[in-house]
Symmetry: C2
Subunit: 200 residues, 2 copies
């Protein structure tokens, strides 16, 4: 095979990974998951195909990793002044992700054999862990303001509003929209206020 006429423009390490991840998301948005190829991603990122394969096992691993990074990036730490407002922002941010092309790909990957690979499980944990880290100040502030009972566990709150949204995406097929996000936030809030989201 001939050397690609387009000379790789990115260096080694983190820069390459960032470029490849960005190219993966761009290819996904443009072509969808079914038509995404490692070749296409490499071309768009300006690297050789072998560079991609050196860092990611396969197409699915690449997509899951790129999305995990993106999902993590999209989540702000809200500070609206009330726990209800903060939870709505967090739930809407998750709904925006799951309701869009990212969500379709997550749904497509989660249930396949690839979804049970250790690397993917790790990525999934990372996504949840990242949301948890961002929700933590929200819950701690709410407890300090007396809006939620002492001992409310941030990770239980995250799961309480995430579960109804993933349920729509993966099980019922109902739309994952703003209304769904607000209802999910209110369910989590009601459960937290009732003391049902303490750890353990």
């Amino acid at each position: 095979m001939e050397e690609s006429p387009r000379r790789p423009t990115v260096g080694r390490g983190p820069k390459v990974r960032a470029a490849v991840r960005a190219a993966t998301v761009a290819e996904l948005a443009e072509k969808g998951y079914a038509d995404l190829t490692v070749e296409g991603v490499a071309r768009r990122a300006g690297v050789h195909k072998t560079t991609v394969y050196r860092r990611w096992k396969d197409r699915q691993g690449l997509v899951v990793d790129a999305l995990a990074e993106r999902v993590a990036e999209e989540v702000p730490i809200p500070d609206t002044g009330s726990v209800q407002g903060d939870l709505e922002v967090l739930a809407r941010s998750l709904a925006d992700t799951l309701g869009g092309p990212t969500g379709r790909v997550i749904a497509a990957v989660l249930g396949t054999d690839a979804g049970r690979l250790p690397e993917v499980a790790e990525t999934r944990r990372r996504v949840l862990g990242d949301r948890l880290r961002r929700a933590e100040p929200v819950v701690l502030r709410a407890v300090a303001r007396g809006e939620l009972p002492e001992g409310t566990a941030p990770h239980e709150v995250v799961k309480a509003f995430a579960a109804p949204l993933y349920f729509r995406l993966l099980v019922s097929g109902e739309p994952v929209d703003r209304a769904a996000a607000d209802r999910a936030a209110r369910i989590a809030l009601a459960a937290a206020r009732a003391g049902e989201l303490r750890s353990g």
Copy 2:
């Protein structure tokens, strides 16, 4: 090919379907999903392979249909005297299903391409519809007793306790056990009491 030496012992119509579904569940329990074959199911049910293919498109369609039937059968209509007790029974019944071999197969099928076929979507709706039908008297009795606000929607209550259990099965990978069921029931109850599970 020669005629099978074991003569089919079941007749046509509903009896055949019931026998094939029962054989499918038995094969699943014995061999797991990966090693299940239509031939094996037909042999166990005492029918010809073509009889199975006449009624079910393929292996995955057969498995989904057999499980849907089973999931529907397993759900009792509880009447413990309190809405908390009733919801715990319903949530534990779902957790027993999702936490066992049935759940592993549901997880394996849901995310694959087969999970997006119209027949599978229909089956999924049927499973949820059936649970809803059984939860309806529970919620209506609770409203009549004054335990839940007027207008509480049975299908929203079902989704509120089902979502955390499916989330464990499909996303976080945490065990789907009795403790998870009781927590899911309490989340649904807190949300319902707060008036967050009314229809619309």
